[in-house]
């Protein structure tokens, strides 16, 4: 497939194949076959068998032709993922944003499959894996949020939203003093899962163009309760992560949902998730409105500080973003 300027997100994968970004490949031996699509009208063809190593010259030729996406068999995706993550661990020349981008892309396919699965098991497994990877990529490095913000996709697709909210939540959690990696992983887990209850909301409501009717709003407002209930028996998920799922729409003045909790009744991590969620929602394109600029979204958050959103979390976020956008 020829470069589409958006990584693999818009690549329509032929059946049985999943798109993978060329940026995640390196000159090395492979244990999976790669396929290439020369143009949109043709089926992908074998590019490199798993028994043949990939050379630097191959990568250079692909770059010269503007090929950003290749394909692997879906049955090979787990092998491919391990190959990429192993490469990330060895490659100290990658910048933190490059590392982050590769992690995000490599998990996209896993998320899509897990989100559609009948049970929550694949989703939990996925969340723990990507949560750990994101926590390490973001919190082990002095990452500049402005760099990340510019390479993030700003749409409301479930994967984009989950990963972006997890990214913002991690940056916030770290800035607010959460330092232990198990806790940061738990923050990432809760943020990735925060909208898991939407799996059970009708697509006609989720994808409704324009403002929702009162009945649709009522249905949409069930998603934190559904998410919490579905995860309730999962002992591997921490209490804080559970509360991020349940309370990310609560507001400190009691105007939120589902319970109408106030101030201290809301878990600190849910307050972090709320700010990240609102910021990403505002800076994302909707079917009925353009994405707002980061500056306008920050202005809105400042207006809500100590009114509906936790003032300390908002001030921390505006300080981080202001420094990142105007270094």
């Amino acid at each position: 497939m020829i470069a589409d300027g958006s990584g693999t997100s818009s690549a329509l994968a032929p059946e049985g194949l999943v798109p993978v970004p060329v940026s995640g490949l390196r000159a090395s031996s492979l244990s999976f076959a790669l396929y290439i699509r020369r143009n949109e009208s043709e089926a992908p063809q074998l590019y490199r068998g798993g028994e043949y190593p990939l050379e630097n010259a191959d990568l250079q030729r692909l770059a010269k032709r503007g090929v950003e996406t290749l394909y692997v068999r879906s049955s090979d995706h787990a092998t491919y993922r391990n190959y990429v993550l192993d490469g990330l661990a060895r490659n100290d020349r990658l910048t933190p944003p490059e590392r982050y981008k590769i992690i995000r892309e490599v998990y996209r396919v896993v998320f899509d499959e897990a989100f559609r699965a009948d049970t929550l098991d694949p989703m939990i497994e996925f969340t723990e894996e990507i949560g750990a990877e994101l926590a390490e990529a973001i919190c082990d490095n002095e990452i500049v949020l402005g760099d990340l913000f510019s390479l993030m996709e700003h749409d409301t697709g479930t994967y984009t939203h989950s990963v972006n909210v997890a990214t913002y939540s991690l940056v916030l959690a770290k800035a607010l003093g959460i330092r232990e990696m198990p806790q940061l992983r738990a923050v990432a887990t809760g943020a990735i899962l925060h909208d898991i209850g939407k799996r059970q909301i009708q697509l006609s409501v989720l994808a409704h163009p324009g403002p929702l009717s009162p009945q649709q709003q009522e249905e949409m407002r069930c998603h934190p309760t559904i998410g919490f209930r579905d995860l309730a028996s999962r002992q591997e998920i921490s209490s804080g992560s559970h509360m991020m799922v349940y309370q990310h729409h609560e507001r400190i003045d009691g105007t939120g949902y589902p319970v109408r909790l106030t101030g201290r009744e809301i878990h600190d991590w849910a307050k972090i998730c709320a700010v990240a969620d609102v910021f990403h929602a505002m800076t994302s394109q909707r079917s009925y409105r353009e994405a707002l600029s980061a500056c306008k979204a920050l202005q809105y958050l400042e207006d809500q500080a100590d009114v509906t959103l936790d003032g300390g979390v908002v001030r921390c976020w505006t300080a981080i973003m202001s420094n990142s956008l105007n270094p």
Binding site: F228, A232, I237, S239, M243, Y246, G254, P258, V259, L261
Partner: protein
């Protein structure tokens, strides 16, 4: 007859427990209301609800790892009862999927749901006042320790 004894026991336990619920001032007529609750537009409930405004006993059980609970009994105010579930008022938040024991000293409840001592599962919880949460529960099964009485 044993059922009637059980109801009286439940009533006396509920009265002895300190009910910490503070109903909103605007709910002054709460205990006077009787009869069937009217359904609003878009109401998706399966069964009609009977207003049953009386004390009941809620016994906490620890069923979710994310929500620590000590085994304790509280007096709650029943609001209404249907064949599938119960609504009651409690002074603190309960979480979806928690399971607890609910003992209802109420003839009308027994007529509707067969018996008054149930394991219930929390479905929803919404604040209506500073120390007042409306809790909706699903009736899961009769409390095993009283089955057959």
């Amino acid at each position: 007859m044993l059922d009637r004894d059980h109801e009286q026991l439940a009533q006396s336990v509920a009265e002895r427990l300190d009910c910490q619920v503070e109903l909103p001032e605007s709910w002054s007529g709460f205990f006077d209301q009787t009869g069937w609750s009217s359904s609003g537009e878009g109401d998706r409930r399966r069964f009609p609800r009977l207003k049953s405004r009386t004390l009941a006993v809620l016994e906490y059980r620890h069923t979710l790892s994310s929500v620590p609970r000590e085994s304790r009994r509280y007096a709650v105010y029943l609001k209404d009862v249907s064949r599938g579930g119960v609504a009651f008022m409690h002074h603190e938040q309960l979480f979806p999927a928690e399971r607890m024991r609910l003992i209802m000293p109420c003839d009308k409840a027994r007529e509707l749901v067969g018996q008054t001592d149930w394991i219930v599962e929390i479905i929803r919880c919404v604040r209506v006042g500073a120390r007042c949460f409306e809790v909706g529960v699903r009736l899961v099964e009769p409390e095993p320790s009283t089955c057959g009485k």
